[in-house]
Each structure stands twice: as C-alpha cells, then as structure tokens.
Amino acid sequence: MKKFKIDFYKNRKIYFGISIAVILIGLICNFIFGAKLDIQFAGGAMIKYSVDGEVDSNEIAELIKNETGRTVSVATNQTIGSDAYQITVSFAGNESVSLEEQKSIAQSLSDAYAERTFGVIESSSVDPTMGAKFFQKCLVCMAITFAILLVYIALRFKKIGGLTAGVTAIIALVHDVLIVYFVFVIFGLSINDVFIAVILTILGYSLNDTIVIYDRIRENRKLEPTKSTDALPGIVNKSLNQTMTRSIMTSVTTFLALLVIFIVASVYGLTTVKTFALPMMVGVVVGCYSSLCIAAPLYTMWFVNKAKK
C-alpha cells in the first residue's frame, strides 16, 4: 500500500503563499473585470427570442430603443444544425421591463420582420429592490450557518481545542468560497442562483473533508501518550498522510462525475449546467487542498505559537 510522507506542517508557508497569491490575483481580476451580478440579484431584464432566419442585431437594438426608450444590447447566435437563430436582448440598467413593454417589443418585431416568426424562449425581469433583498438574505443565511457550524465543531472537537478547530475550518471555507468566486469573475460567469448552489455545495464538500481530517487528528492525539505541544506537528502530519488516500480518492471520484456532466452539458449546449459544473470542479480541488494544506497547518500553528508564549 502506498504511504505518503509529506511534511504538511513544514511546508505550510509555501501553501499559504500559494493561496495568498491566488487570492491576490483573484482580487486584481475582480477590480479589473468586476463581478457580473445577474439580474436575479441586481435587477434588470433579459429576453431571448428564437427566430426562423437571420436578422440584424443593430437593427433590432435600434427598433427596441425606439419602442421602449431603453438602451439594449442584442446578441444573435445561430442554433447549431438549423436555420434558426437565437436573439438575446439585454436591457441596460437595473430596471425591470413591464409586461406591456415586452408585448409591444414582440409586436414591433413581428411588424418589422413580417416574413419571420419570433418566439420567446426565455425571459426574465426582476425589480432591483427584490434582487437586493434576496442577496441580503443569502448573506444572512450564510452567517447563521457559519455560526451554527462553529458551535457544532467546537463541541465535537472539545478535546483537541474545539474553537480553534472550528475557526481554522471556517478560514479554510472562506478561502474556498473566495477562490470559487474568482472563478466566476475570471470566466465572466454571472453571479446568480447557480453561484449560490455552487458555493453551498463546495462549503459542504470542503467542510466534510476538513472534519474527516480533524477526526483523525483527534484519534491520533488520543493514542499518543504525550500531551506536549511539541509532538503536535508530528501527529498532524501523520493524520494528514493517513487520510491522504481517502481525500484524493474522494476528490477524484467527484471530479470525474463533474467532468462527465461538464462534457455532456458542453455537447448539448446547456450553459446553465456548464456554468455550474466548471466552478464545481475547481471547488472540489480547492476544497481538498484547503483541508490538507490550510486548515490543518493553521490549526497546528495556533497551538505551537500559544506554547511559545
């Protein structure tokens, strides 16, 4: 059986360095590109039409501007394997579009292109105040969940410094959330309910990973007769190496499953599912990394530094 012998504690500065560098790059990208808040949160409107032939985007943008007085950007793509086109009309600003407006747009489109048939594929229109409320609710939910998790971890790992275990586990979670968020920013994916679902999944996944490692540390500390802090880095390293096989196996399986989903979604052109699977794949890798290289070394550092004082 393959045995790992990696000194996670000694290498901690390298890991922290890598993570800080990645987060910095992410922050810079965030400032340059900016996060694309979906209309679900920011408010605004989008309508997708299907049309049975080619139409000019600029003409349509002009037409809608005349009809509603609002600036829109129009993108057309041909549907693969047919003559049909898809037109995505995005309205500038955060205001929603009323039903009457949507109806008058549809009317003016069919008036202007009498020989073509337009059909609504998808449309959404969200009032900005409601979007903001939903966003706040997500944040409040996250804060409460973190608090409850902290209490649970602190209670369950009381024997090995529960609060420290809880705090370091949550630092690792915040690390994962940030990196997954940057994936959204860098790939220009919009922050919507898919984002929330991905973040939640990664939270659960990474947390489970960290807990399994802490469980092993607890077990090994119980076996070790000495209670001295000097032995702690050794115990933590041993625990991490013992759980490595399992961490890697679990990540590989989950990653493979997501890869399959990503490939199928790409073949079928399902954007929603693709924007879901890609950041998840990154999240699975990051979640595994942060449990091994961030949470456990931080946990050890805490006690070593406390003993020094």
Binding site: A106, G119, V120, M130, F134, A197, L200, G204, I211
Partner: protein, 469 residues
C-alpha cells in the same frame, strides 16, 4: 468479532434492487383505460419550471398600495380561481405579506406551441370582474380534479341581467350566525353593500324573491344562492351548508372582486419547454454516465467494498428519487429543479466519501498485518465517527437552507416569504441524500461487508484491498 449472518448481504441487496426498480419505474396497473398509480416512479417527478419550462411571476398592488393580509388572500383566491378556469392544476402560489407580493409559478405544457406567456400572466393578474346575476343559466359544466362541478360562461337572462358589480360590494367576510328556523349556529358569508349597491340589490331582491341570484367571478359561477327575503339595508348574508373553510373561501373570492387596487407584475420569467426538456435529457444522460464512471472507479480501486459501495449508492439514489416523486405515502412529492440536481450530486459525493473512508480504513488495517475479521471490525468502528461528523455538518447546512429559503421560513419576519424555490430545492435533495447515506452508506454498507466476509471464497485479503498474496 460479532459475525453478521451470511444471508444478510442477499436480503439487503434484494431490498435495494427492489427499491431502486420501483423508485425508478414505479408500479402501475392498467384497468381498462384508467392507469392506477400504486407507487410513483421517476416519471412522476414534478419538474421545476427551469427544467420543463414554465412561467414565474410576482404580482404586487399597483401604485405602492399597502394591502392588508386579507386583501392579499383575496387576490390569491382570485388567481387560484383563474388557474382552475385555465385548467392549470399543478401551479404553486405563495403570498408574501411582509412585502405585499404574490408569487405564482406554473408549467408551460410542451404540447402548447401557441402558448403566449405574456398573455397568460396578464389574464391571471387582470382586475377581477365580480358580478351578481339573475338566474343561473350557464353554457358549460366541467369537473375539477376533486370532482366538483365548475359552471362556466353565463347565457340567456343570466348573461344579460347584471344586478351588482364588484364596486357595489364594500365587504365580504365569513361569519357564524344563528339559523332563524332551526336555531342552530352555522357558517355564512356576510356582505356589506355600498349605497348604490344597496339600492340596486333592494330592487332586485324584491323582484326575484324565491328565485336564484348567481355570483360570478369572470366567467365562473362561484355561488348561486336563492333570495329568501327582500334586502333593503345593504346587509346581506349567504347561508347554506358551509364549513369554516368553504365560507372563508367564498368570502375571499367575493372580496377579491371588490379589491381597492389592481395587481401589477413586478417580476416575471419564462422558460420555453423545448429548452427545458432538452436539458432534462442531457442531465439524465450525464447522470447515467457519471454513475457508471463512479461504479467502475470504485470497483477497480476498492474491489469487494467498492462493489458494495456501488450497491449502497444505488440505494441512496433510490431513496432520494423516492422522496422526490412521492413514493412514500407520508412524504409529499417535491418539485425538482436544477439546483435540486446539484444537491443530489453533493449527497452522492458524500455517499461515495463514506464508502471510501470505510474501505480505505479496512485497507489500512490489513496492511498493518491484522486478520481479515479484525481489519474489517477495526476499519468499520474507527471510521464511523468521522463519517457521522461529516454528515451531520452537511445536515446542518441542508436544514439551514430549508429553514431560510422555504416557503415559510425562520427569516420570514425580516425578508418575507420565499422569493425563490431554487435554493430550497437544493437543501431538500441534500437533506434526503444525507439521510439516505446514513441508511445506506453507513448502516447497510457495513452489514453487507461483514456478511460477505463470512463466505469462504471471498475470505481473501486481496478482495478487501490487502496485498496480493
């Protein structure tokens, strides 16, 4: 070590396969033309509008009018009535009192190619037209899903002679009052009319005493009381065999025709069903391939425990599907959305992890030189708490999501009722998946491994991940 009896493996395996088969395909009997559903399968799962297409709209009182809870309930009653008249049965509707919103979701049936979502939303939220009419002549009579008759479209005298309109009614509320002949207390609806309504009603009740005055909402007849006496003071009541529920339902509908505000559509979104169905097919395909990949991977790496893991994962999936489709009579069916599928993926990940933790722990113990029985025993007991801890933390996350984003939730006071069902759906499938994992990945998987280790031909360390000797 306490041995688990040999047949246990087969009993659990058969149970899992039976559960999986019935949960996926359902159990139906054909009786002439009617198909009886005994157990609901995957085909009966109600898919969310993001998957199969549909309309979601949020209505609020126009011009920022602050509506009372009763007025919102009335508006909701009107929308429900219109859903029935459009024969849309599987709609969802929520009212959000804190924010004065009514949220409606309904599917877009794939057969309806000429379906116009904008028109549908407009019709549903249009100002309700309440009328009191002479007689009860109607054009069509159909049955709703509960077998109650629906009378639609007034004709003849009933169509021509309108006695009262919505604006003539000031208030309608359910009351309890004493029956003047029997002396018993019964449920009734009390109506208060406006000055003009009082005049018109006095004239009509005098003319139609002993005859019927029917009450219509749009073109559906909601009640047809007989005039017992002349009502000249504008205080009428409708009596009959009402229950508390049916009285307040009718009062809500009548009140809905007299709402002091119109509804405006603040949010709406539509998804075309062809787009949705395509993604459903792709998701099914992706799910089958992903499961096959996991199965091959687990069996190659972990051998016998890997095989057991695949069986238990199948069982966990079956439990999840069953909890969604309404397989168990005590669990309501659930609307499945794309984030719901994400929840299933995470719970499968957690299930795989539980099996991997146990299997790799057994492997570890074998490599320290323990006997097969000793390694299995130690591996199972040592990994138990780590699996339970991981599962409980995820359970906390799932419960929080359900609690916060459910239709009525713990943060309702601050944020109002749910504005989206997507995250709730994620929490629900995650919760069910984790419970399934406790049953399958923790309990059944251990029983099966221990039971299999009792078979002579299988008592080889290699099969459990030990060295190849």
């Amino acid at each position: 070590m306490k041995r688990v009896k040999k047949p246990v493996f087969f009993i659990i395996a058969v149970l899992i396969l039976a559960l999986t088969y019935t949960a996926v395909f359902g159990v139906y009997t054909q009786n002439g033309d009617t198909k009886n559903t005994w157990i609901k399968g995957v085909g009966d799962i109600r898919w969310g509008i993001d998957i199969r297409g549909g309309v979601e709209a949020t209505f609020s009182p126009a011009d920022g009018v602050d509506a009372t809870a009763d007025q919102l309930e009335s508006a909701k009653a009107i929308i429900e009535l219109r859903m029935v008249s459009k024969s849309i049965t599987d709609y969802e509707i929520y009212t959000d009192e804190a924010n004065d919103k009514i949220i409606v979701r309904f599917p877009w049936k794939s057969g309806e190619s000429d379906f116009d979502p904008e028109k549908a939303i407009e019709e549903i939220s249009a100002t309700a037209l309440l009328t009191f009419r002479e007689g009860m002549e109607y054009e069509t009579q159909t049955l709703d899903e509960n077998g109650n008759p629906i009378y639609q479209t007034p004709t003849g005298t009933t169509a021509e002679s309108i006695i009262l309109e919505g604006s003539d009614v000031t208030e309608a509320k359910p009351v309890m009052q004493q029956n003047t002949t029997t002396g018993e207390y019964e449920y009734a609806i009390s109506l208060t009319l406006s000055d003009e309504g009082t005049k018109k009603f006095a004239e009509a009740t005098e003319r139609l005493k002993g005859k019927i005055i029917s009450i219509w909402m749009d073109d559906i007849m909601i009640s047809y009381p007989t005039v017992n006496s002349v009502i000249s003071n504008g205080e009428a009541s409708i009596t009959g065999n009402f229950t508390a529920a049916s009285a307040s339902e009718l009062a809500s509908k009548i009140q809905g025709g007299a709402l002091p505000f119109a509804l405006q559509t603040s949010n709406f979104s539509t998804v075309n069903p062809t787009l949705g169905l395509k993604s459903l097919d792709a998701m099914v395909l992706a799910g089958v391939i992903a499961f096959a990949v996991i199965a091959v991977f687990m069996i190659v790496i972990f051998r016998l425990p890997g095989f057991v893991a695949v069986l238990t994962l199948l069982g966990q999936l079956a439990i999840t599907f069953a909890a969604i489709s309404g397989y168990f009579p005590f669990v309501n069916s659930f609307t499945m959305t794309l984030p719901g599928i994400a929840g299933i993926i995470l719970s499968i990940g957690v299930g795989v992890d539980a099996n991997i933790i146990t299997a790799s722990r057994i492997k570890e113990e074998l490599h320290t030189g323990k006997t097969l029985d000793g390694a299995i025993h130690k591996g199972c007991s040592n990994s138990l708490w780590s699996i339970i801890d991981g599962n409980i933390t995820i359970l906390i996350v799932a419960l929080m999501l359900i609690g916060v984003f459910g239709p009525s939730n713990i943060l309702s006071k601050i944020f109002g009722e749910s504005t989206t069902g997507a995250i709730y759906s994620f929490g629900y499938t995650l919760l069910v998946g984790v419970i399934g994992n406790f049953v399958m990945g923790v309990f059944c998987s251990r029983m099966m491994i221990k039971s299999l280790s009792g078979f002579k031909p299988l008592r080889k360390k290699w099969l459990f991940g030990g060295a190849d000797k």
